[in-house]
């Protein structure tokens, strides 16, 4: 079976929030909930970088481990879903989640949390009818053979969604063509040049990828 994963190529993300909007639109997300967010680090500086974040459908999901009602489950595709009928709004999944994915409607008194809502990888959730599923969890695009709308609509194709192996292959190819010496996450040519100029010895850098166009 496939292992569904998101991956955001931080070098491509332009902070347009198209994914956020696409998600809200596809899933009819409740008021006050935003399943996907775009985080910008070092905003306005030369090394500004943006990354789109939602539920990452962890292999060892902390939300599943701490949930007092055991409302989470993993589909065969590795997608982490939850049953809103079991959710009691205790907030533990929010304490544990590395990505701030779980969110709670807050219309009740004393800030009491409603039923948790999070990204479903556009795979819906447990319900008796299609209408109920859409009402509770949003679209089930996976059932229709489609990928999450956020990734489908990403204008720069920074956000990738799909089987982990395919996503990794696409990214690896990108890294190769981008010409990074030690991988897309950890460096780029310009900085390598700066580091070399500063006297760093980069011959031992992990050759995770190489510039195929420069061979020979």
């Amino acid at each position: 079976m496939a292992q569904m994963k998101f991956m955001c190529d931080a070098e491509r993300c332009i902070d347009c929030n198209g994914c956020v909007t696409a998600c809200k639109n596809a899933n009819d997300v409740p008021w006050g909930i935003q399943r996907r967010r775009v985080v910008t680090l070092n905003d306005g500086q030369a090394d500004e970088v943006s990354i789109s974040v939602a539920c990452m459908h962890c292999d060892d999901a902390p939300c599943m481990a701490v949930c007092p009602t055991d409302c989470f489950y993993k589909t065969d595709d590795g997608i982490v879903l939850h049953d809103k009928d079991l959710c009691i709004g205790c907030g533990y999944c929010l304490y544990a989640c590395p990505f701030g994915a779980p969110q709670f409607p807050k219309q009740n008194a004393f800030g009491e949390r409603g039923k948790m809502d999070k990204c479903t990888f556009c795979a819906g959730g447990p319900a008796d009818s299609k209408e109920e599923e859409y009402e509770k969890y949003g679209a089930n695009r996976i059932a229709e053979g489609k990928l999450p709308l956020c990734a489908e609509m990403c204008s720069t194709k920074a956000l990738l969604a799909g089987d982990a192996q395919t996503v990794a292959d696409i990214f690896r190819q990108r890294v190769v063509h981008r010409g990074h010496r030690d991988g897309g996450w950890s460096g780029n040519q310009r900085r390598d040049q700066e580091r070399t100029r500063a006297g760093a010895d980069l011959t031992g850098v992990d050759e995770l990828s190489y510039d195929a166009t420069r061979q020979g």
Partner: protein, 351 residues
């Protein structure tokens, strides 16, 4: 096309040029493209950036497009909380509570009930007035409800979900959470009132040390000195006044998330709440045992308000010496309590 005018030579020249272009141009073009992309690309995410992300700190140049987000990019503390809760609080809480139940059961089987040393005299001493008794039983009931719902929140999913199925479990766990969250604050307020009311009996005294040295009478012969409250009762009081209040305070932090407390604050509040509450539940089992099955004549102090002279002599000799002249015959108190007699405990002074 103009080359064609030069005839066969021109054709050859064209062919050579094409071959040359094919051989040389693509690498040169690709080279220029990569250089150009590298030169215009974002400066990349340096290890320093990831270190900062991992630390969870955000600076002035951090932006999050979620409207109410006070979060960082990666919440690394979540995993620490998960490990502490699932690997330490949860198993050791079960060991503490379960171990206490076993220990008490063993103690009851081996040592048995603590009987009165002499027959009852039939003369009674007022120990707890109606106000304290009603407060005690309200707090006690709330404590038991909170303990059971709390245990259900921590361990219920391992037992009741497979046992009853999702439909019943959904109702059961959501009722647990609602009861826990709404009764918790009530318990907190009443606990403070109860603690304030009985504080005067619970100031530590020198003879309490001796009480503990003799294990409350278990070690050696005879019963160690005790005033109105003995060492064990004082220990229970001060546990509630410290750990109990910590549990109440951390409970408020968890119960009212509308004051903008951070995720990290709530993680720590949850751990304090869990450790404190499980510990208190274990000790409360001891308190319940001693007050009911464990020793003859104790329960009536908290139900009728009166104790027998023999019981007072056995367990609270110093208090008995102070108030023995205030003893009333059993018939005088009867079934219904007379408000006039219940203005306060028979204690002449705190002890």
């Amino acid at each position: 096309m103009s080359l064609c005018r030069y005839g066969p030579l021109g054709g050859l020249l064209l062919a050579v040029m094409l071959v040359l272009t094919a051989l040389l141009a693509p690498p040169a073009l690709a080279q220029a493209e990569t250089e150009r992309e590298a030169a215009t690309a974002v400066a990349g995410v340096s290890p320093d950036v990831w270190r900062q992300v991992r630390s969870g700190e955000v600076d002035a140049n951090f932006r999050d497009t979620r409207f109410d987000s006070n979060y960082n990019l990666i919440n690394a503390s979540g995993e620490r909380w998960r490990q502490l809760r699932n690997r330490w609080v949860s198993p050791f809480g079960l060991i503490a509570v379960g171990g206490m139940i076993l220990a008490i059961a063993l103690f009851y089987v081996i040592v048995g009930r603590k009987e009165l040393s002499e027959p009852r005299t039939g003369r009674k001493l007022l120990r707890w007035p109606l106000f304290v008794r009603s407060l005690h039983w309200t707090v006690a009931t709330l404590f038991i409800v909170l303990a059971l719902t709390g245990l259900n929140l921590l361990y219920g999913k391992f037992v009741f979900r497979p046992l009853f199925g999702d439909a019943f479990w959904a109702w059961m766990i959501s009722a647990s959470k609602l009861a826990h969250n709404y009764l918790g604050p009530l318990f907190g307020i009443l606990l403070v009132v109860l603690l304030a009311r009985v504080l005067r009996h619970n100031w530590p005294k020198r003879h309490d040390l001796e009480w503990f040295r003799q294990g409350g009478g278990l070690v050696g012969k005879g019963h160690p000195d005790a005033g109105f409250a003995n060492g064990g009762e004082k220990l229970w009081f001060w546990l509630l006044a410290t750990a109990g209040l910590a549990v109440v305070a951390s409970g408020f932090v968890l119960d009212f998330p509308n004051y903008g407390q951070s995720r990290d604050t709530m993680q720590w509040a949850n751990l304090i709440h869990g450790v404190g509450a499980l510990g208190l539940t274990a000790v409360a089992l001891g308190h319940i045992y001693i007050g009911t099955l464990g020793s003859e004549g104790s329960l009536e102090a908290m139900t009728t308000g009166y104790v027998d002279e023999t019981w007072a002599k056995d367990h609270h000799n110093l208090w008995y010496e102070e108030v023995k002249d205030q003893a009333v015959p059993e018939e005088a108190i009867g079934g219904d309590s007379r408000p006039g007699d219940e203005r306060s405990e028979t204690a002449s002074r705190p002890g």
